[in-house]
């Protein structure tokens, strides 16, 4: 029984989202803080350095941290406002339980723990261990990620653990492992500075990684040419040298046509291809018919622009290719990633100064979290849970029998499907709000309602947690010591600024207590986060993501350390592949054929328009944090349907008119924003909002067969103008939509 105990409006009234604004004169004590804590932003993968000002055990403000080398004080609006998540009226201050007809009531930690442990035991005794699942997230530090991975396998003894990185970096991770045998940005961002050509594919850098914009411009100041691939004229595309306005779902045709052009015009680094790669002939053969004319027909990009981009890329001496979710959120996300890597390998521009390639990891600890913890097919050090040697090594580190180590489990969306089918009956979630962030939210809601028991650890009552039986009051990033790994592969220190308020506890202590009550205290006794990290170092030793030589002190002394760092005297590895020794079985970088395939859903007479989704600069992921910060909500208060004036005219749509958008999965109503900055055949809705304002009511649960990432970036929809104008956003209150 995980239906809402009371109408949603009552839950919103009690637990928010409510908007937090700073007092007019700032918080008391800001000018004379007790301490100034050098740490990092809790949001995206840039992990910008920031100082938090603390007075009386509360975060009361921020100050730029000028010395941190990546951002040198620069911040985006989310970073400036992040401190307002602390001191927030919505904060959960004690454990809660669901009471039918009343809502959520305070209970003691003992009662919350007893109930949770007895339900875990009941469900696992009745249905088997794997009928209890766990969903986690990579806003968690490396320490917590590692702990969750160990907890699920050793304490819960379930194979069904996965994480919200499944919606983020898995296509890139799978592509990088296929091509290089290792999953990390090949270069740090200082290699952008003298790159002659930069390709940014499917990455709205200025809105999702704003501080990276500075590094792109640094290169442009030195004469770099910028090529942006995106169906919209995003802020970075506005001034780009070439904007390739790709039709959603056709990316691989573009990369294939560019590769063929390079080959046809003698722009390959044949020496690099011969000596350091494999699979080139088959990869080129797969695109032998990808003419510029055909590419124009499929992608909708003028062939002259594709040619110009290929010429720039082919003739450059230095270059950097960046991509993100725009090409990865597809049923062929891995193919798209491989298509990009093929362009990099074909020109041999890798492992040298100002020759770079990287996926831009989205979440705060999207990099570290995907290496050591909670991925359903993985063990620490980016090891494979199905590899006998890897299983043996980690079992020894954890002090368990290898045969007791669960095998590969289901991925995040597959866990929801298994709950829907009745195969999984119990769930613990932490740091994940699937009701907003997973596709097809009506289906996700139905699944949640079928759970026999659901416990959520969080600091705010997120939309998914409203379906929980027990809620444990957990901690914010700034309430525990730890480390994260930024999108560059730089391991950095997250410092504790304050204690959890009220009766809330640290996430770590909650997980340790449950493990103890499940009878495995001997495997889960740590005095500090640093002790967990030191165990992680050993667990990662010898894996591709080797942290063994990284200590808290080394991180602090060097403003971060780039992995791999296998020994105490190793300086870390800011740039990969300088030795040309790739981590694949044959030691070579692998070309992989990436032929074009149709997206999971194509337009037809009933659903004639392409829908794509994405983000805005003032919100982060499912909005659990950012939909509670007043100024961030005010900046972009509700999701708008971006539509080209020609399509708007075709449907008689007026600016700010309410439009019903429908797909095979659901419908939602959004105000029209008529703009010339989008393709004529595509509409766009950002996804950070819940309930009736969720873009994920519309998106499909089609998964990439390898990475299992959902296809957020392309589906088919229809539009129906409602002949009614949108009310002011202050009345709509989309941030708290039911």
């Amino acid at each position: 029984m995980a239906k809402l105990p009371v109408p949603v409006e009552k839950i919103v009234e009690d637990f928010g989202p409510h908007l937090n604004y700073a007092p007019k004169d700032g918080y008391a004590g800001r000018d004379e803080p007790d301490k100034v804590v050098e740490t990092h932003c809790c949001f995206c993968g840039m992990q910008c350095g920031i100082k938090l000002l603390v007075k009386d055990d509360k975060v009361v403000g921020f100050d730029p941290w000028m010395e941190f080398p990546f951002n040198e004080g620069r911040l985006c609006p989310k970073g400036v406002q992040r401190y307002l998540q602390n001191n927030h009226p919505d904060r959960i201050l004690s454990p809660l339980k669901r009471v039918e007809g009343k809502g959520f009531e305070k209970i003691s930690w003992d009662e919350a723990m007893d109930k949770t442990v007895s339900e875990i035991k009941r469900i696992q005794t009745t249905y088997g261990n794997d009928a209890f699942s766990m969903l986690s997230g990579v806003s968690l530090t490396n320490e917590k990620s590692y702990l969750v991975g160990k907890f699920a396998r050793v304490a819960l003894k379930t194979k069904n653990l996965d994480y919200n990185g499944r919606l983020c970096m898995v296509s890139a991770g799978a592509g990088n492992k296929k091509a290089f045998g290792l999953d990390r940005a090949s270069n740090n961002y200082s290699d952008l500075e003298y790159a002659e050509v930069i390709i940014v594919a499917g990455a709205n850098i200025s809105e999702t990684f704003p501080t990276l914009t500075h590094w792109i411009w640094k290169a442009r100041d030195r004469g770099a040419k910028l090529i942006v691939i995106d169906p919209r004229i995003i802020p970075l595309a506005r001034t780009a040298d070439i904007h390739l306005d790709v039709k959603p779902g056709t990316d691989s045709v573009l990369y294939g046509a560019m590769l063929k052009y390079l080959a046809d015009h003698d722009m390959l680094d044949q020496e690099f291809i011969n000596e350091h790669t494999s699979g080139f002939e088959a990869t080129l053969d797969a695109v032998k018919d990808y003419t510029l004319e055909w590419a124009e027909e499929i992608t909708g990009i003028q062939k002259e622009k594709i040619k110009a981009a290929a010429e720039l890329w082919g003739k450059a001496k230095t270059s950097f290719l960046l991509h993100a979710r725009g090409i990865e959120h597809h049923s062929k996300g891995v193919d798209n990633v491989l298509g990009c890597i093929n362009l990099v390998l074909a020109t041999g521009r890798l492992g040298k100064p100002y020759c770079g390639y990287a996926t831009i990891t989205g979440q705060g600890n999207g990099q570290g979290g995907r290496e050591h913890g909670h991925k359903c097919d993985q063990l620490p050090g980016n090891r494979d849970i199905e590899n006998p040697e890897h299983r043996k090594y980690i079992s020894e580190v954890w002090g368990i029998n290898e045969k007791d180590m669960p095998g590969k489990g289901l991925s995040a969306y597959e866990i929801i499907e298994a709950i829907h089918r009745g195969e999984i009956k119990g769930l613990i979630s932490i740091c994940f709000n699937p009701l907003v962030s997973l596709p097809n939210s009506n289906y996700v809601r139905e699944a949640l309602e079928k759970l026999e028991f659901y416990m959520c650890i969080d600091f705010f009552l997120n939309e998914t947690a409203r379906h929980a039986d027990i809620i444990m009051a957990g901690s914010l990033q700034e309430e525990e010591e730890g480390t994260t790994t930024s999108a560059e592969g730089r391991v950095i220190r997250i410092r504790k600024a304050v204690n959890p308020p009220g009766d809330a506890r640290t996430d770590t202590s909650i997980i340790l207590e449950i493990a103890k009550r499940l009878g495995v205290e001997d495997k889960f006794s740590y005095e500090s986060s640093e002790q967990i990290f030191n165990e992680l170092r050993v667990a990662s030793k010898g894996g591709t993501a080797d942290y063994f030589g990284i200590s808290y002190k080394k991180i602090e002394d060097n403003m971060g350390v780039f992995w791999p760092c296998p020994s105490d005297d190793h300086p870390g590895t800011p740039r990969l592949w300088e030795d040309r020794k790739f981590k694949t079985p044959d030691g070579k970088a692998h070309f992989n054929p990436a032929p074009y395939k149709l997206p999971g859903e194509v337009t037809d007479e009933t659903y004639p328009i392409i829908l794509t989704t994405g983000r805005v600069v003032s919100q982060y992921l499912s909005g659990t944090q950012t939909r509670r910060i007043g100024k961030l909500v005010d900046q972009y208060p509700e999701p708008l349907l971006e539509i080209h004036p020609e399509m708007a005219a075709q449907y008689g749509i007026q600016q700010n008119e309410l439009i019903k958008v429908s797909t095979r999965r659901g419908e939602g109503i959004f105000p029209a924003n008529i703009v010339e900055t989008i393709r004529k055949d595509t509409v766009f809705i950002p996804y950070h909002w819940p309930g009736k304002k969720s873009a994920n009511l519309l998106t499909p649960g089609t998964l990439d067969p390898i990475s299992k990432i959902p296809e957020f970036k392309v589906c088919a929809c229809k539009l129906e103008p409602l002949k009614e104008f949108a009310k002011p956003a202050s009345e709509t209150k989309a941030f708290a939509s039911s």
């Binding site: 700032g26 914009t213 500075h214 600069v617 703009v675």
Partner: protein, 189 residues
């Protein structure tokens, strides 16, 4: 002025082409203790229907500030470093002369305070050798605070311009706008 570490060689530069419209500058400006959560810098879309371009408008700190000239209460002053200081709270009578007179449309009258508020180039920060808050956080470096030499070295394709022609009137300012290389002035009308 009291003891100060204000660096006379440092100037403010605005590079509109880099503005990504994120509003980090507005958010950070509003955090200043003297601003009461109001921003003195403003980011706006030029015309969202046709472009994603945004502009950022900060006080230009004119060499001969017309806002100060038209103020009947002498509430606006220019200091020895060329900073045009915000309305003196005890003197400002909320008449809006400055709002109407400014050629750049910078001063805003805050109705709830019945007072004009404007940028003083973060005097609390710049007087102790720090950069203004907006130019510190700007993630695209559309706002930069430093020396002219630094700027010329960093951005060889642009030239800072601080001479603006409004009809028959020429206004020179402490704040620079980055223009295509070789530009000497910006004609506004």
């Amino acid at each position: 002025m009291e003891y100060t570490n204000f660096n006379k060689n440092e100037e403010f530069f605005v590079d509109m082409q880099r503005c990504i419209g994120c509003k980090a500058c507005e958010m950070a400006c509003a955090e200043c203790e003297t601003n009461g959560q109001e921003s003195m810098i403003h980011v706006n879309y030029v015309e969202r229907a046709t472009t994603i371009q945004t502009t950022v408008q900060v006080c230009m700190h004119c060499d001969d500030p017309v806002c100060a000239k038209v103020c009947p209460a002498d509430a606006i002053t220019k200091d020895e470093f060329g900073i045009v200081h915000t309305a003196n709270t005890s003197r400002c009578i909320g008449c809006s002369n400055c709002v109407l007179a400014c050629p750049f449309g910078v001063p805003k009258k805050m109705e709830q305070y019945d007072m004009m508020m404007k940028c003083n180039m973060c005097y609390d920060r710049t007087s102790i050798g720090k950069k203004p808050m907006c130019a510190t956080v700007c993630p695209s470096s559309a706002l930069f605070y430093g020396t002219r030499e630094q700027m010329m070295e960093m951005r060889p394709n642009s030239t800072p311009v601080n001479k603006f022609i409004f009809g028959n009137e020429t206004v020179t300012t402490k704040v620079n706008i980055m223009m295509p290389k070789g530009s000497t002035q910006l004609k506004v009308d």
